[in-house]
C-alpha cells in the first residue's frame, strides 16, 4: 500500500537531548577498530582545535535513527518496519559531535515515493546542540520492500 503523500514536509517534535559521553565515544571507536587519538585523548583532540574528544563521523547515526523512530513508528503513516531496509545515508556537518554535547534531533519527512511497489521514504534529521547551534544533518533513505517479497 502506497504511503500517504500528505506526510511529506511533516516535522516531528525535537527529541529530548542525548548527552554524548566520552566513554560512549571510546566504545564506538573501539567497535569500529579506529585508534585515531582524537576519539579518546582530549589533548590530541585539542591539538586539532577541538574543545574535547570528538566522535567518529557516523557515531551520530545512533541518535538520529532513534529520533527517526518517531516517523517509522507513526501509526498514522503506517510504514511496515519489518520490511524496511536502509537505502542511503548521508551526513552534512557544521562541526564534529563531541563529548559533552547535549543533542536534540528534529526529524522531517522530506519525500515519499513508490517505485516498483516499494515504499521509499527520505527522513532529514537536524541535530542541534544545547545552545541551539546546528551540529549535523542526517539524511536517511529507507526502503520498505513490497509485501509480496517479504
Amino acid at each position: 500500500m502506497a504511503l500517504d503523500q500528505s506526510f511529506v514536509g511533516r516535522t516531528y517534535p525535537a527529541t529530548d537531548p542525548y548527552e554524548v559521553g566520552r566513554e560512549k565515544i571510546r566504545e564506538f571507536a573501539e567497535a569500529i577498530g579506529d585508534t585515531n587519538p582524537a576519539y579518546t585523548d582530549a589533548e590530541a583532540a585539542k591539538a586539532l582545535g577541538h574543545p574535547d574528544v570528538i566522535a567518529p563521523p557516523t557515531f551520530v547515526f545512533a541518535i538520529t535513527f532513534k529520533a527517526a523512530g518517531q516517523v517509522i513508528e507513526d501509526p498514522q503513516l503506517g510504514l511496515d518496519y519489518s520490511r524496511v531496509v536502509h537505502g542511503d545515508q548521508k551526513f552534512a556537518y557544521t562541526r564534529p559531535v563531541r563529548s559533552g554535547d547535549r543533542l536534540a534531533v528534529t526529524s522531517t519527512i522530506e519525500a515519499i515515493k513508490t517505485m516498483a511497489g516499494n515504499d521509499i521514504i527520505d527522513i532529514r534529521g537536524e541535530v542541534h546542540d544545547e545552545a541551539g547551534e546546528h551540529v549535523v544533518t542526517a539524511f536517511t533513505k529507507l526502503v520498505a520492500r513490497r509485501a509480496e517479497e517479504a
Partner: protein, 144 residues
C-alpha cells in the same frame, strides 16, 4: 579543524592510501552493542536465512564507518569531514569461520570544489568478496 593535508598539494586523481578492514561475527556483536543496532540479521544466522539472506550480514552503518577511515586517516583530523554519504548496494556477508569477511576501501580526489573553503570531493570504493558494497560513496573534506 586542522587537516594535515594541504589543499594545494592535492590534484584531481590523487589517491588516498587504501585500507582493508576485517569483519568477524565478534566484530558485529561488538558493533551491535556500541551502536544499539540489535537487528538479528547481523548476528543470528538462522534468522538471516529465514528472511532470505545468504548468511549473517554486516551492519551497513559499520561498513560506512570503516570506509570513511581511509579519509580521516589521510586528513588527520576527522573533523575535516564536511559531508559524507553512501548508498548501500550489496550486503557484506560474514560467514561463521576463522576468516570472516574483508572490506577493501580505496579512494581518490574526484574534484577540487572551492579554492576559498579549500574543500575537495573524495570518491570512495568499498568492495567485499569481489562485490561493490557501497555506491555513490562520497565525502567532502576541508583541507589545510
Amino acid at each position: 579543524m586542522t587537516a594535515q593535508i594541504s589543499y594545494d598539494d592535492v590534484e584531481v586523481g590523487t589517491e588516498l592510501p587504501a585500507q582493508s578492514f576485517p569483519v568477524s561475527r565478534a566484530t558485529l556483536v561488538r558493533y551491535a552493542g556500541a551502536s544499539g543496532d540489535f537487528n538479528p540479521i547481523h548476528w543470528n544466522e538462522k534468522f538471516a536465512k529465514e528472511v532470505g539472506l545468504p548468511d549473517v550480514i554486516a551492519h551497513g552503518m559499520f561498513t560506512m564507518a570503516e570506509a570513511i577511515r581511509v579519509v580521516t586517516d589521510w586528513a588527520g583530523d576527522p573533523g575535516a569531514v564536511a559531508e559524507y554519504g553512501v548508498r548501500f548496494t550489496k550486503p557484506v556477508v560474514v560467514p561463521n569461520d576463522d576468516n570472516g569477511a574483508l572490506i577493501e576501501v580505496s579512494a581518490k580526489v574526484a574534484a577540487k570544489l572551492d579554492d576559498d573553503a579549500r574543500t575537495v570531493r573524495v570518491d570512495l570504493t568499498a568492495m567485499s568478496a569481489g562485490q561493490k558494497v557501497l555506491g555513490m560513496s562520497r565525502a567532502v573534506v576541508r583541507l589545510a
